[in-house]
Subunit: 162 residues, 2 copies
DNA sequence: TGTGAAAAGATTAACAG
DNA sequence: CTGTTAATCTTTTCACA
């Protein structure tokens, strides 16, 4: 069954698990259990429950874009001329499926979308904007900014004090 | 040794590994090998090499922010008044260490930083901006936009045709 | 719920082609 | 560089407190 994420109540063991795994995602279940002073089976059980309750939604592989021939990253801010649901959904679906797009933010406010993309070089970036973004008639305006550096913050790791 | 990421040359087996793992990061080495028609040891060897060469930089856990009590996400666009290296580095370090910050983009162009944050509610968002962003004297202006939805794109997965 | 021990499964290392 | 085997380690399962 697909549980409602928001209904899950997390106790302090769950929070410690998430905190450890957030800091060190490559821990095995065994190592995690020993850090937390739990039996392996207990730890595995909690982990599975966190997944089934939708708290842990998955894992991801971090890949170095440069190594793959995409040394240039950019944020493309997109503003629309029309906001009909149909157009917006279609555009979002298309953008999300476009190779090179790492993340696509759908926003409220001045910019309608932020696209985080990785490309080969400046020319590819120009082509990307022209061929994949402004080609959609619903797009009124774009503004492209280079990404100098991208860092991960602490994110939503549970505060230990709660 | 820390290898130079850009010097790694990827053959078609490496690319297939990355493509499979990008699509399905939870595959075990064994399952991956069988999908690609490789021996497990070969696949494991390739994987380790990809890590040592800095192509695969790590793994990450995806956690549902709502379940942890942060149902609201926003992008805070930050513009600076001064761009001295010292000030910029200090600010970036501080922001990257601030709880609630998921990612911090350092950009070239109109906005100097984009902060992707998760917070409890609108009031917490206001407090975040005031207490953690505009509190820095080097920040001249901020603009906050709500995140309606965030999707992952295909990213930099190797194209099979290369 | 949580635990410990046995069974099943996955990874690693050594070696051969 | 690839594949096979065997040893090691991890995860899963289950009876029981």
């Amino acid at each position: 069954m697909k549980a409602q994420p928001s209904t899950a109540t997390l106790d302090s063991v769950d929070r410690r698990i998430l905190s450890e795994l957030g800091t060190n995602p490559e821990l095995t279940n065994k190592a995690l259990a020993s850090r937390l002073g739990l039996a392996e089976s207990t730890c595995a059980y909690r982990l599975r429950a966190l997944r089934e309750n939708g708290v842990i939604t998955g894992r991801r592989l971090d890949v170095d874009a440069r190594s793959l021939g995409y040394p240039l990253q950019a944020v493309i801010k997109v503003r629309l001329g029309s906001h009909s649901q149909e157009h917006v959904e279609k555009l979002y679906d298309d953008l999300t499926a476009t190779p090179g797009v790492i993340q696509a933010y759908h926003l409220g406010g001045a910019d309608d979308f932020h696209l985080h993309v990785a490309v080969e070089d400046a020319e590819a970036l120009r082509d990307f904007v022209l061929q994949h973004v402004t080609v959609h008639r619903v797009v009124r305006q774009t503004e492209t900014q280079l990404v100098f550096e991208l860092r991960d913050g602490p994110g939503v790791l549970p505060r230990e004090t709660a």
